[in-house]
Amino acid sequence: MTGPAVGTAGSQAERDPDRPEPVRVVLAKLGLDGHDRGLKVVARMLRDAGLEVIYLGLRQTTESILLAVEQEDADVIGLSIHNGGHLTLAPRMVEAVRAAGMDVPVVVGGIVPDMDLERLSEAGVFAVLGPGASATEVAEVVRAAAAARA
């Protein structure tokens, strides 16, 4: 098993003590869905926007994601779902976070029909980013999720 790829726009040493720490986000695909093009693009968008990205990649479980969140002290979980399994997978992730006693918000990206948005919101998903969301929008939503946590 390969470790997660961690990356950031600037190196840790340059960090100004007066400036807030960059938001740390874990990005992952849950289950068998192999569509990782979007998630890889989002990873680079977030890095370019100055966030710290912990990219787990494909075939993760709720357990492997929670482990990464804990080890990397992440602020947000970004789940990418392109196979129509969002109503099963996203609520399961939120439940797992709660069961572990954490308060890390879950943001979903991918293909989610409009009529399912409310159910995901009720299930505790912080936000859903659909196709066409701009780089600025994606970074803003992840930052807002991190802020909502504190």
Binding site: P4, K40, R44, R59, G84, G85, P131, G132, S134
Partner: protein
Amino acid sequence: MSLPDNPVPGGAESHDDEDSPRARAEAQWRTAFEAAPLRDGTFETMSGVPLAAVHGDPPYPGQFPYTRGIYPSMYRSRLWTMRLFAGMGTAADTNLRFKRLLDAGGTGLSTAFDMPTLMGRDSDHPWAVGEVGRAGVAVDTVADMEDLFAGIDLGGVSTSMTINGPANILMAMYIVTGERGGTDRSLLSGTIQNDILKEYQAQKEYIFPPRPSVRLVTDLIRFTTAEMPRWHPVSISGYHIREAGSTAAQELAFTLANGFAYVEAAMAAGLDVDDFAGRLSFFFNSHIDFFEEIGKYRAARRIWARWMRDRYGARNERSLQLRFHTQTAGVSLTAQQPEVNIARVATQALAAVLGGTQSLHTDSYDEALALPTEQAARIALRTQQVIAHETGAPSVADPLGGSAYVEWMTDEMERRATEVFDHLDKLGEGSILEGVYEGIANGYFVGEIADSAYRFEREVNAGRRIIVGVNAYTEGDDGDTPILYIDDDVEDQQLARLAGAKQQRDSGAVVAALERLAAGAADPTVNLMEPIIDCVRVAATEGEIVHALEGVFGTYTEPAVV
């Protein structure tokens, strides 16, 4: 110059010397064209202008290096196959759909499997929850395959199976299904995708590491060469490479490199290139940049012909001819104003036809939202029928050949692909197969694809590239497109079937067959097809067979690289 007999202004052929290369090419083409059957159709414009079957310069369609098409008469003999890929629910659901298709005069069946089946996992695997029967049909044991084809004469149809990592297992199930229905394996006809290399590069449905996986591919090539003359053992696929974000030239280059890799692997296993190369086929994407796509298809045929002849020593004409299936670009479809996708698909489909495809799948306009509804799939098929019967495009072979721009684009695609081949050849120290292995191991393919995907996304973000309805012309999105929902009962039904199949079988025989398979896997000289067929006969599940092989081959995990 125009061929054959009807006069076209400006034709200069009559002034040519009879022995000139041009005159000889023309005479040879004419003989071949006249020998080809013609379909019923009017080969004149809608205004009544008669049309020659080909225009421009040699080499003509059907002539080496086949830049202009692999047949002298192209679509005048036979239109491309309008093949729509689909699958749903349980095997029995799909069987019903197959029968309706055959009753309507269809002769080709195309099977989509669900994600657990594609990944070599049974329906009761923890990863399978929520996925069973969702994006295709679930197959766990040979009993499911028998349900899928119940009441269908497998000697009378051609079946396409889209499966890669566990291809040998599904092939074995199809063979045993044929046997039990009275059709010998030698009479089975069809195609199995079985292209594992692109899984590591793009689609990510891999199971074992690359080398043992290529051995499985080679085993199937050897097996079909010896026993199944009507079966196409690999469909070398650029489609998924493009969907993952590559450029057109990268799709072309990586796909053909994978093709060369399989040729080298099969030759290394002792096969003569002409014994199998004629049964290899290709599968390309058709994206929205019209002329780039057409150049890509033309370059693909030319490169393949030259490499097969000059590098691999093929002599049989069929070994040199690149045949391909095309699917329009799913990734180009937008969730915003989805009806506009109908225009995108039509443009892409026309590019595939002008590029000389042998078969075509057109995407449904709602695929950026969900699996297609029946109405959306029908519009996709109708789009092909409009191109086939209304536009006149199929009347003339390679109608864009000779256009300065199209010829330049063809050369440019070839030049860019050649740079990639040179790189892989160097990486592999004179072996494309080794170069591809190395490119997978060092992240070359995934890195190149991710770079291209990100570059494109940044251009869209910055507004340098317009996507209609996404970053321009956004008004008018009413968001009321009907969407297909899949029944949740399918999973429970399939779990019950699997439990039943496990109860009815002789578990001692299953264990023994799996042990024999594992022993065979440990010996690289053994062809694993017969041991896998033995496992399938005693109702070992797909997941059990995969597990036995994983015990010897290991499981592949992708390095998480952004």
